[in-house]
């Protein structure tokens, strides 16, 4: 019997394969991009010549490359439905120990040390989360305090200057065809993470676990092992960030990486990732990184008073995210009027902008 040959028409489905509407749909979801665009327009109007000057663009690249690597680490953790608030302290720890161990004689030894430290921190976090089933927030909160405490204890609060400080400083200033080497490292890390997430079995598993852990488990995915690997990879990235910190500042200060976690999470979230996991793109996280760096840079360029900077930053964030959804809702309403298809259905709140 072959019902297949007489397929009933009720099961037919026409896939919309037109490229145009795909890009349109994609653009509609990229509200981080609109925020960035708006920021760039504001920057151009107010301080255009300075903002777009070569020096400032180089500064921007430098300023975003360290946090950029940390944002990638945060992203993969957030994709699993976790959160890592220890990234800042772990970066500090990696930087300080890499600067101080054996006196910090070589930048390559420091790279190794920093990555190992980061990896260890990540492995501990990941083990507790994956194998002991603990809440990531509380685990990484403990690690936040522990790592920062070790930073203080290691240098008694005094910055650690590696022996190879001069090499670090000159390495940090190196550019390749005009692009700072630190930025190149960041871009390489973006490419690596994008490849891992989108092109490998591991990446697919990360998304599956974040979206529906039970389904992932039932489908034979090694949930614990994958979760652990995510935290370890995040740790390695953070360690790399610590090393880049040394390259940029040539000293392991005890405040290195302070409050970085907040900015990293914010960049991931404004880039469209969902804190409950399973949804988020590398592209969005990168845009989020750029947004926060540009905001800080712009406030500096406009020489906004220290007293008002925080207020401006906060208001900017609130206005930006609100406007982005307003314009999104509007464009949706327009679509509706045009095609009579869109709705105010409850499902509409499950857009990326929706609450998790």
């Amino acid at each position: 019997m072959s019902t297949a040959s007489t397929l009933p028409p009720v099961h037919q489905y026409e896939e919309n394969t037109s490229r145009g509407s795909a890009i349109g749909a994609w653009l509609k979801g990229q509200y981080a991009l609109y925020i960035l665009l708006a920021l760039l327009i504001i920057a151009t109007i107010t301080r255009g010549s300075v903002f777009w000057s070569g020096t400032n663009l180089t500064n921007l690249l430098l300023q975003m490359s360290i946090i950029g690597v940390v944002v990638l680490a945060e992203l993969i953790v957030v994709l699993t439905g976790g959160i890592d608030i220890s990234v800042g302290s772990a970066l500090g720890l990696a930087a300080v120990i890499a600067a101080g161990l054996f006196g910090g004689p070589s930048i390559w030894l420091a790279l190794l040390v920093a990555i190992v430290i980061g990896g260890i921190v990540g492995a501990v976090n990941g083990w507790l989360v994956a194998y002991r089933g603990l809440e990531p927030f509380i685990v990484t909160l403990g690690m936040l305090a522990l790592a920062r405490g070790l930073v203080y204890a290691y240098g008694n609060g005094i910055p650690i200057i590696p022996e190879a400080a001069a090499t670090f400083a000159s390495f940090g200033q190196t550019t390749i065809i005009g692009i700072p080497v630190l930025a190149i490292i960041w871009i390489a890390a973006i490419a690596l993470i994008a490849f891992l997430l989108y092109r490998t079995v591991w990446g697919r598993r990360v998304y599956a676990i974040g979206s529906n852990k039970e389904a992932a488990r039932a489908s034979g995915i090694p949930v614990k092992r994958t979760l652990w690997s995510v935290y370890i990879l995040a740790g390695l990235l953070v360690g790399l960030g610590g090393w880049m910190f040394l390259g940029r500042f040539a000293a392991g200060t005890s405040t290195a990486g302070n409050l970085l976690e907040l900015e990293a999470i914010a960049a991931v979230v404004i880039g469209g990732a969902r804190l409950s996991g399973g949804y988020g793109r590398v592209f969005g996280a990168v845009v989020g990184t750029i947004i926060f760096t540009v905001i800080a840079n712009l406030l500096s360029l406009l020489n906004v008073s220290t007293f008002l900077q925080d207020a401006f930053r906060g208001a900017l964030i609130l206005v930006a995210v609100t406007l982005a959804t307003v314009s999104f809702a509007n464009s949706r309403r327009r679509t509706k009027a045009a095609t009579e298809t869109a709705t105010d259905s409850p499902a509409s709140s499950s857009t990326p902008a929706g609450q998790s």
Partner: protein
């Protein structure tokens, strides 16, 4: 859209009181016209069945009526309510009670609280004492007993309930809310036949009280046992409304899918060559299974029948590593195995198709392609890097084979319930396991696609694999299996040869056998 080819026009009836009237109702999702202009009237004191293939728009219509979604165009007037309902709270005030295809259960609430969930609706009454209802009261327990959940503790969390129990729990709300329209959206899909009697009783009582009941089901025998009129939807349009008395299941099937179904061939008998069974279970304990033993041979399809809560799923989960056995021996081809995770099982080519689609069936944020390839992805990858082209090509084939109404890039969660189920079935059969347990594989799947899935299952067995099918539908097992085991209270109490048994035998054994 309406038809009067049956003489008297059954779509309208001036003699009866109108309960709701839908005119020109459309519901369009991006890229999908779920409903495309439906006019339908329901009357007080009747059972109106809504039939249609998967994705025809049945649930969508029900959701519009219950105010959970708002129509793109047209409106639905509920009798006694001044304007079309705009949200669930208004629908409640208008007297619409809906049992969703995915039941509305708050996992972190107790069973008792879930019974009284609608107490939390939009009523302006949020005074502290308004919540006075004791969710552990005698009344609550009676209500639960009324839907066959008397053995549950009212204070236990709803999180632990299986899909069948969730359906019945949601149904229990009928007894504690005032309503004039009651919608049952595939409430019977994951419950066994004997629960149908509870539901039938309930419906009779409601009918007598003047409620308009809308009944959605793919089981045409149930539809004909219950309905007064049958509305048939196809691709978002109302094809016809017929009187149950003037019609037959075959007529309705033809209306639904545009052709009549051929009868399913019996599976070819299995030949034993003295080889050890693919899987052999001895004295298995775990979950609610209490000492279960059985074999499944290569090429054999074994059915597992029982009532909701008889322990079938516990057995299925335990032999496939989804949960750990507490006692007992499982041997695979003569070798004793111990499975502690689903991953272990998969490595030994043992698979379990879950009955709990909502919780562990598919990944919410994945599209059909990603969901279907989830299990077999490592096979489509080299050194961990996915071969995207191969994946896409294979998934396209699967979508065609399983008649999924959706594309590779459609999000699985936006599919209709039955189409989601097809995705899940496809995902597991694609893994090509040596031993596969299918727990309620056809739940919510329409008659057309169902035949197709039976065929695929038979072809799997024909390739020498062992299949265990858990089902609440005796008929399904009788036509599909080589042997049928019946469970009761966690034990296998009888074995039937489908050639020499009928539905009644199975149900009676499941119900009345004493041990």
């Amino acid at each position: 859209m309406t038809s009067d080819q049956h003489g008297h026009d059954p779509t309208t009836d001036p003699q009866q009181t109108v309960a709701f009237r839908a005119t020109g109702v459309k519901k369009h999702y991006p890229g999908v016209k779920a409903l495309d202009g439906v006019d339908l009237t329901g009357y007080a004191g009747e059972v109106l069945a809504v039939c249609g293939a998967n994705g025809a728009g049945k649930s969508t219509f029900a959701k519009l009526l219950a105010g959970v979604e708002t129509p793109t165009d047209g409106d639905i007037m509920v009798a006694g309510y001044p304007h079309p309902v705009r949200n669930a709270a208004e629908a409640e005030q208008a007297g619409v009670l809906m049992m969703h295809q995915e039941p509305l259960i708050i996992d972190d609430f107790t069973v008792g609280e879930n019974v009284w969930l609608y107490k939390l609706r939009a009523g302006r009454d949020i005074r502290p004492w308004a919540q006075k209802t004791n969710t552990n009261s005698q009344r609550t327990r009676e209500v639960l007993r009324g839907v066959g959940l008397g053995h549950l503790r009212t204070t236990e969390l709803a999180r632990g309930l299986g899909p069948g129990q969730r359906q019945m729990l949601s149904l229990s709300r009928a007894a504690v809310t005032k309503h004039r329209i009651m919608i049952l959206d595939e409430t019977t899909a994951s419950t066994s036949e004997e629960h149908f009697n509870d539901i039938l009783d309930l419906v009779r009582r409601e009918k007598a009280a003047g409620t308009c009941i809308i009944f959605v089901s793919h089981r045409l025998n149930e539809v004909f046992a219950m309905a007064d009129r049958i509305a048939v939807l196809r691709n978002g349009r109302l094809v016809d409304v017929v009187r149950a008395a003037d019609s037959s299941p075959d007529d309705v099937t033809a209306l639904m899918i545009g052709q009549a179904l051929k009868a399913l061939a019996r599976p070819a008998p299995v030949e034993h060559h003295g080889a050890p069974p693919v899987i052999s279970v001895q004295d298995l304990y775990g979950g609610s299974a209490r000492g279960v033993s059985f074999d499944v041979r290569s090429g054999e399809i074994v059915g597992l029948y029982g009532l909701v809560g008889s322990g079938r799923s516990s057995v299925a989960r335990t032999v496939t590593g989804q949960r750990q056995a507490v006692g007992g021996v499982v041997t695979m081809r003569g070798e004793r195995i111990k499975l502690s995770t689903p991953g272990d099982a998969l490595r030994r080519r043992i698979a379990y198709l879950t009955e709990d689609r909502r919780l562990e069936g598919f990944v919410n944020d994945f599209d059909n392609g990603q969901n279907m390839s989830l299990v077999v992805l490592p096979r489509m990858a080299r050194a961990g890097v996915v071969n995207a082209g191969q994946e896409k090509a294979r998934v396209k084939e699967l979508i065609r084979d399983f008649q999924v109404k959706g594309g590779v890039k459609t999000m699985t969660k936006s599919l209709s319930g039955g189409n989601q189920q097809k995705v899940v079935v496809a995902k597991w059969l694609e893994a090509d396991p040596d031993f596969v347990v299918l727990d309620e594989p056809t739940k919510g799947i329409d008659v057309g696609a169902r035949a197709n899935i039976y065929e695929i299952i038979q072809s799997v067995a024909a390739r020498g694999k062992a299949v265990l099918v858990v089902s609440s539908e005796a008929e399904e097992l009788l036509s599909l299996c080589h042997r049928i085991l019946v469970m009761r209270n966690g034990k296998v109490v009888a074995e039937f040869d489908p050639e020499h048994a009928d539905t009644d035998d199975l149900i009676r054994t499941a119900l009345t056998h004493q041990d």
